[in-house]
C-alpha cells in the first residue's frame, strides 16, 4: 500500500514572508520582499471621461498599462495602487463604481536581474515584452495576481491575501 500524506492540508504551515529573501536564480541576482503598505481601489466605468472627471485624475487609456498608480485592466476596469495615507473619493450618484479593496491583497516586490526569470517560472507572460509601465491581471500557476512593471528589473506583484503565503513560498523556493 502507498502511504499518502495528507496533501491537501500540507500547505497549512507555510507563511507569508516578513523579511526579504535574497539570492540568485540561474546565476542572476534576485530579491523578494514584502511591499510597503498600500491602498487599493477597484474603479469601474463604461466611460473613461466620467471616471477621470469624478476622480480628478488622468487615467491610462491603453489596457494593460498604468499611469500614476492606476492601471487599466479591462475595457471598463481600472485598478489603483497608491501609497498608504492617500485615497480616492467614493463617488456616488454617477455611472461608475469606486470600491476600496485596500486590505484584499498584499504586495510582493521582485527585483534584480533575475526577477523576470523568477516570475516566468509560473507566469505565462513574456516579460521580455512587458515594458516599463505595463500592469495587468495574470496568474502564477493557479493563483491570480496583478503584475506591475514599476522600474527596470523591478516588479510589483499584488495577490489576494489568502493566496499570498502560497505565492510567496512558490517564488522563494527557486531562489538559491
Amino acid at each position: 500500500m502507498i502511504e499518502i500524506a495528507p496533501l491537501a492540508v500540507s500547505a497549512a504551515d507555510i507563511k507569508f514572508g516578513t523579511a526579504p529573501v535574497e539570492g540568485t536564480i540561474l546565476g542572476k541576482a534576485v530579491r523578494l520582499s514584502p511591499s510597503q503598505p498600500l491602498v487599493r481601489y477597484s474603479l469601474r466605468a463604461k466611460d473613461i471621461a466620467v471616471l477621470a472627471e469624478a476622480l480628478g485624475r488622468k487615467l491610462p487609456e491603453k489596457i494593460g498599462t498604468s499611469l500614476d498608480g492606476i492601471a487599466r485592466l479591462g475595457p471598463d476596469e481600472w485598478h489603483a495602487l497608491l501609497p498608504a495615507g492617500t485615497g480616492l473619493p467614493l463617488v456616488e450618484g454617477k455611472p461608475l463604481a469606486v470600491i476600496d479593496v485596500s486590505a484584499r491583497s498584499v504586495g510582493i516586490v521582485v527585483e534584480g536581474p533575475g526577477a523576470a526569470a523568477l516570475i516566468e517560472r509560473g507566469c505565462p507572460l513574456d516579460l521580455a515584452q512587458f515594458a516599463l509601465g505595463r500592469a495587468t491581471r495574470t496568474v502564477f500557476e493557479t493563483v491570480e495576481m496583478h503584475l506591475w512593471a514599476l522600474a527596470p528589473e523591478r516588479y510589483h506583484v499584488d495577490v489576494w491575501r489568502s493566496f499570498a503565503p502560497w505565492l510567496w513560498n512558490s517564488l522563494a523556493e527557486a531562489i538559491v
Partner: protein, 954 residues
C-alpha cells in the same frame, strides 16, 4: 575484440570505464555508452519479455522508438523508474537496471506458455473469452491477466525528488538537433530574436552521430550555436506535446544521467514554451520488415546496428545478415564491413538496386541475393541463422549468422506536426505520410519533411512466404505483440477502417504509439483489403510523444506547494487556541475549540451553550462578499434575487435567495444596502466564485445596459460574528459613531462607524437565532479588532466557537445551508421559503421555471424536521427514509436526512430532512433503516428553538 566491443572508434570515452549491473549481474561499459550499447557490447541479446506471449526479445532500435528493451532503472528504493527504453538510458558508474515482465528470470520465464499456446490467443481473445462467468472477471481473470501482461512495476514509495517548471518565449523554436535542426536554428538566430533548439539526446547531432563523415560538420554547427548568444540549446529534453497557438510542452531531464549520489537539484524541468514560429526537425524512424521470426533477439533495425558501431563502438554480431528493401541497408552493411564486421549476405526484396551500391558491395566481397526474402529465423534467445528463398517461395537456403538487420525504409516523424493538426499527404516515394499544410505557424525541415536523401526503397506489406500467414511469427507491433495474422484476422472479422483495426488488434496502442509499427500495419491492411493505403485512414498521434513522468507534469505543485490553502487572518489565533480545523472549499476553518480532555461533542455542546446563555465569537471571514455598486445596483439585484430589493432602505439588510434558471436554489446570503447605489452582498463560503461569475455573466450578456459593477470583497473584510444575549454589551464600549440601542439599530440593519478605532460595517444579523452582530473590518485590522472584542468579552465568559457549533445553532433554528440541506434540485417552495419569493415581481432569474408542471406537481421532496423517538439517537446524515420498514429491499425511499446533530440546548437530537410531500406529513412517524436496526422518528417543522424569534429582536 572483447565481447562485441570494436577496439576503436565511436564517441565513447574509453579512458573512463564504468561498472553497472543488469538483473544483478555486473558488466562494464564506458562513459558515453547507453545501457543498450554497453549490454550489446557485453554480448547480451535478451532485453525483455514481450507483453502478451512473453517471448524473449532483444534490442530493435537505438532511439525512442525502441519497442522491446523496456527496463526498470533502480536509483534507490524510492527512485525506481519502470519502462525506460534501454537505448535512452545514459550509463553512469554503479547503474542498477532490471528487466521486466518475466518470472523467475529473463531467460526462463514461466509465462512463456502463453507463447506455446499462442495460437489460442489471437486479437480479440480477451474480450471474447473472459466474459463468463461474469463474477470471475473481477476476482480471477483481471488480476491474473494484469499480472501476466504487464510492463514494469509502479514505484510504491513517495517520490523524494522535486521538479522544476517554467514558461519561456521565443521567436523560433526548433525541435530536433540533427543537422537540419541545427542549421534551421542558426538561420533563425542570424535574423536576431530568441531561438530555442530542443533535442532529446545527450548531445546534438541526431542521425549524423552515426555517420563519421558528418562529425566535422556537427562540430562546426555546434560551435556556431554555442557562440550565438540568442540561442538556447536544451539537450536531454523531449518536446512531448504541440498545443494550440505554438505552445510546446517539453521536459528536460536534469539528473537521471548522473549517479544518484552526484545528482543535485531538481530531477526534471518542465518547459512551457510559446514560440512565434516552430520548426520541426524530428527526423525519420527506420521501419522494420514484417517476416516470420522477425522478433528473435538479434533481429534489429539496420540503422541501429550502424549507430551501435559508429557512435558507440559496438558490433551487433560477428556474422551479420542484412534483410533490405531499401538502399540504406546496403550503405549500413558497407559501413559495418569497413569496421571489420563480417556481412554474411545482403538479401533484398527488390530485383533492381542502384548499380553503384551493388558494385561497391560486390567489391567488398559481400554476397547479395536480390529478389529474395527471409522466411524463417532460427534461434530462441539469440539469432543462429536465417532461411531465405527467392520471392519467399522458392527453394530455401540457410545461412548461419548471429544478427539480422532489417532495412524496411524510413518513416518521417510527423508526431508533433499531427499534434498541431497539420495535414498529411501520402508519398509513394517514401511509402509514408509527409507533412502537407500547416495550421499553426510551423514548418518542417530535414527528414521529417521528406527532404533528406536516405536512398530509395520499395515498400511491401509483409515479406512473401510459402507458409500461411496464420502460422508465421511475423510481428508488426513488437511492444503489443501484434502479428501480421492479427491484422488479417481483423479484416476477416469485418473491420475496414484502420481506426477499428487498431483498436481490435491493439496495434500502435503501446507506449511507443506505434513508432515502428503503424505504417507496416497500414500496408498489410491495405494489401488484405485490396484498397490503397489512403482509403483506409490514418490513426492520430496524440501527446505525449514519449511517456513522461508525473513529477515533470506536476512541476511546482508538490508537498507544501501542492495547492494553496486559504487561511483567514484569525487562523494563527485559532491555532494558538488549539482549534481543530476542517477544510471548506479551499479554505480551512476552525471546526471547534476543545479544552483539555474534551472531545468534539463536549466542546460543541459547551460552545453552543455559551452562545445561547451569554456570548460566543466566531470567525466568519470566509463568507463570500461582493460589492455591487452603480446607479442600477438595486435594479440588478431585483432581477437576480427572488425577493424585492428596490424598496430596501439604505442601512437595512435582507435575506437574498438566488436561483438558477431552472428554478432550483443556487445560493443564499444576507445582504445590505450601504447607500443608494451601493450594496454589500454575502454568499456562502464555497459559493462565492460561482455566484460572482453567474452575476457577471448576466450583467455582460443579458443586461449590458445596466450601470452597475461587481467586485469581490471577500478578502478585503475580516468578519467577526458575535452572537448571544451579551453581544451588545461586549461591543458597546468599543463602538463609536453608532447608536446600538435596539430601536436605533434593529435586527437586519447595518451601520458604519468604528470599533476599537477601526472603521467598520457593523451588521446586526444572526445565523444562530440569538441577538448578534457580524463585524466587518478591513482584513489587515482583523486580528486587532478580534483581540479587542475578546478582551471586552472576558467578563461575560466569551467563548470562541467553530463551524460545528455554528451548524448546530442554525439547525436548531431551521436555517438552511445551501449545498447541505439542498442538493441542486430544491426550489424555494420545497424548502419552505415561500416568504422569500416576491410573488408580485414581474421577473427574476428562475421565476418562469417555478411554474413548470413538475415543479408545481405533488410528490416533490420538501424540507422538514425529524425528531427521533429515542432522544439520544443521532441520525446519520444521508440516511434514507422509508414509510414501511417491513417492505422487502429495495424499499420505497421517500427522502433522506440532510443535517443531524446532538442539541445541548434542547437536550436531545435533532435532524433536518427532505421528504416526499413532507409539509403534509407533520406528526407522522417515518422509519430510517440502519444496519443496527430501524430508527423511528416523528416529522415536525424545521424550527426547533424559539419559533417566535423573540431572542433575535432583543
Amino acid at each position: 575484440m572483447t565481447g562485441y566491443r570494436i577496439p576503436f572508434g565511436g564517441r565513447i570515452d574509453r579512458s573512463r570505464p564504468l561498472t553497472f549491473t543488469f538483473d544483478g549481474q555486473s558488466y562494464e561499459g564506458y562513459a558515453g555508452d547507453t545501457l543498450a550499447s554497453a549490454l550489446v557490447a557485453a554480448g547480451v541479446t535478451v532485453f525483455g519479455r514481450s507483453f502478451k506471449y512473453h517471448r524473449p526479445r532483444g534490442l530493435v532500435a537505438t532511439g525512442v522508438e525502441e519497442p522491446n528493451a523496456l527496463i526498470s532503472l533502480d536509483r534507490g528504493a524510492d527512485r525506481v523508474t519502470p519502462n525506460l527504453r534501454a537505448p535512452q538510458i545514459s550509463l553512469y558508474e554503479g547503474l542498477v537496471a532490471k528487466s521486466q515482465n518475466r518470472w523467475p528470470s529473463l531467460k526462463h520465464d514461466v509465462a512463456v506458455l502463453n507463447d506455446v499456446f499462442g495460437a489460442f490467443f489471437p486479437a480479440g481473445f480477451y474480450n471474447k473469452t473472459f466474459m463468463w462467468p461474469r463474477s470471475a472477471w473481477e476476482k480471477l481473470y483481471e488480476p491474473v491477466i494484469r499480472n501476466l501482461a504487464g510492463l514494469g512495476e509502479s514505484p510504491v514509495a513517495r517520490d523524494p525528488d522535486h521538479y522544476d517548471a517554467t514558461y519561456a518565449h521565443c521567436e523560433v523554436l526548433v525541435v530536433g538537433g540533427g543537422i537540419a535542426g541545427m542549421e534551421a536554428a542558426l538561420e533563425a538566430a542570424a535574423k536576431g530574436g530568441r531561438v530555442f533548439l530542443i533535442d532529446e539526446q545527450d548531445e546534438l547531432g541526431g542521425g549524423a552521430l552515426a555517420d563519421t563523415t558528418l562529425w566535422a560538420t556537427v562540430d562546426d554547427l555546434r560551435a556556431r550555436l554555442a557562440a550565438a548568444d540568442n540561442v538556447t540549446v536544451l539537450t536531454r529534453t523531449t518536446a512531448f506535446g504541440y498545443y494550440h497557438q505554438n505552445f510546446i510542452g517539453a521536459s528536460e531531464r536534469l539528473t537521471d544521467h548522473v549517479a544518484p549520489f552526484a545528482a543535485k537539484g531538481a530531477r526534471e524541468k518542465l518547459w512551457r514554451i510559446r514560440a512565434g514560429e516552430v520548426v520541426l526537425a524530428q527526423g525519420a524512424i527506420e521501419r522494420p520488415l514484417v517476416f516470420n521470426g522477425n522478433d528473435v533477439p538479434g533481429v534489429m533495425l539496420s540503422n541501429a546496428a550502424r549507430t551501435l558501431a559508429l557512435r558507440y563502438g559496438v558490433a551487433v554480431g560477428r556474422r551479420v545478415v542484412v534483410m533490405a528493401a531499401h538502399d540504406s541497408g546496403w550503405r549500413d552493411a558497407l559501413a559495418l564491413h569497413a569496421l571489420g564486421i563480417d556481412i554474411a549476405a545482403i538479401i533484398d526484396m527488390r530485383t533492381v538496386v542502384p548499380g553503384d551500391l551493388a558494385d561497391e558491395v560486390r567489391a567488398a566481397g559481400i554476397p547479395i541475393y536480390p529478389g529474395h526474402a527471409v522466411t524463417a529465423v532460427s534461434g530462441r534467445l539469440a539469432v543462429k541463422g536465417v532461411t531465405f528463398a527467392a520471392y519467399g517461395t522458392g527453394k530455401p537456403h540457410k545461412l548461419a549468422c548471429d544478427a539480422v538487420l532489417m532495412a524496411g525504409g524510413w518513416t518521417p516523424s510527423v508526431h508533433l506536426w499531427s499534434h498541431a493538426k497539420g495535414s498529411l499527404e501520402w508519398s509513394d516515394a517514401w511509402g509514408a505520410y509527409l507533412p502537407a499544410k500547416a495550421i499553426e505557424n510551423c514548418r518542417v525541415v530535414g527528414a521529417c519533411a521528406g527532404a533528406w536523401d536516405l536512398g530509395k526503397g520499395e515498400i511491401s506489406s509483409a515479406l512473401p512466404n510459402a507458409m500461411s500467414v496464420r502460422k508465421q511469427k511475423a510481428f508488426v507491433d513488437f511492444q503489443n505483440d501484434v502479428k501480421a495474422r492479427d491484422i488479417h484476422l481483423a479484416v476477416q472479422e469485418g473491420f475496414r477502417s484502420i481506426e477499428h483495426i487498431k483498436r481490435y488488434t491493439t496495434n500502435g496502442m503501446a507506449t511507443d504509439q506505434g513508432k515502428t509499427s503503424n505504417l507496416n500495419a497500414l500496408q498489410i491492411a491495405s494489401n488484405v483489403l485490396g484498397k490503397p493505403v489512403t482509403d483506409i485512414g490514418l490513426t492520430t498521434f496524440r501527446p505525449p510523444y514519449t511517456p513522461q513522468t508525473f513529477g515533470s507534469l506536476m512541476g511546482h505543485h508538490k508537498d507544501a506547494l501542492f495547492q494553496p490553502l486559504r487561511k483567514t487572518v484569525i487562523d494563527d489565533w485559532a491555532v494558538a487556541q488549539g482549534a481543530v480545523f476542517e477544510n471548506v472549499s479551499q479554505w480551512r476553518r476552525a471546526r471547534y475549540f476543545p479544552k483539555a480532555g474534551e472531545g468534539m461533542d463536549a466542546a460543541v455542546g459547551r460552545e453552543c451553550q455559551a452562545v445561547r446563555s451569554s456570548v460566543g465569537i466566531f470567525d466568519a471571514s470566509t463568507l463570500g462578499k461582493i460589492e455591487v455598486v452603480g446607479p442600477d445596483a438595486a435594479e440588478f439585484l431585483n432581477r437576480m434575487y427572488t425577493n424585492p430589493w428596490k424598496s430596501l432602505q439604505p442601512g437595512r439588510c435582507r435575506y437574498g435567495l438566488l436561483l438558477r434558471e431552472d428554478g432550483f436554489i443556487m445560493d443564499d446570503g444576507v445582504s445590505a444596502r450601504i447607500a443608494e447605489d451601493r450594496f454589500h452582498l454575502t454568499t456562502t463560503t464555497g459559493g462565492a466564485p460561482r455566484v460572482l461569475s453567474m452575476m457577471e455573466d448576466y450583467l455582460q450578456t443579458e443586461w449590458a445596459d445596466l450601470d452597475v459593477w461587481l467586485t469581490s470583497t471577500t478578502e478585503h473584510w475580516a468578519v467577526i460574528a458575535l452572537q448571544g444575549p451579551r453581544a451588545r454589551d461586549v461591543i458597546a464600549p468599543l463602538v463609536e459613531g453608532i447608536d446600538l440601542s435596539p430601536k436605533a439599530f434593529p435586527h437586519m440593519a447595518v451601520r458604519e462607524g468604528t470599533i476599537a478605532g477601526v472603521p467598520t460595517r457593523l451588521f446586526r444579523v444572526s445565523f444562530t437565532g440569538e441577538l448578534g452582530f457580524e463585524i466587518n473590518v478591513p482584513a489587515s485590522e482583523g486580528q486587532k479588532v478580534w483581540d479587542a472584542i475578546f478582551a471586552s468579552g472576558k467578563q461575560y465568559g466569551i467563548t470562541p466557537y467553530g463551524t460545528e457549533a455554528m451548524h448546530v445553532l442554525r439547525a436548531e433554528k431551521g436555517y438552511i445551508i445551501v449545498g447541505q440541506d439542498t442538493d441542486g434540485t430544491m426550489t424555494p417552495y420545497d424548502m419552505g421559503l415561500d416568504w422569500a419569493v416576491g410573488k408580485k415581481k414581474a421577473d427574476f432569474v428562475g421565476k418562469r421555471s417555478l411554474a413548470r408542471p413538475d415543479i408545481v406537481a405533488k410528490g416533490r421532496k420538501q424540507f422538514v424536521g425529524l425528531l427521533t423517538e429515542d432522544p439520544y439517537e443521532v441520525l446519520e446524515e444521508g440516511a434514507q427514509i422509508v414509510v414501511h420498514p417491513d417492505e422487502p429491499v429495495p424499499m420505497t425511499m421517500i427522502g433522506h436526512v440532510t443535517s443531524s446533530y446532538r442539541s445541548t440546548t434542547l437536550g436531545r437530537s435533532i435532524a433536518l430532512a427532505v421528504l416526499v410531500d413532507g409539509h403534509a406529513r407533520m406528526g407522522e412517524t417515518v422509519h430510517i433503516p440502519m444496519p443496527e436496526g430501524v430508527i423511528r422518528a416523528k416529522v415536525t417543522g424545521p424550527v426547533f428553538y424559539d419559533s417566535e424569534g423573540s431572542r433575535l429582536n432583543d
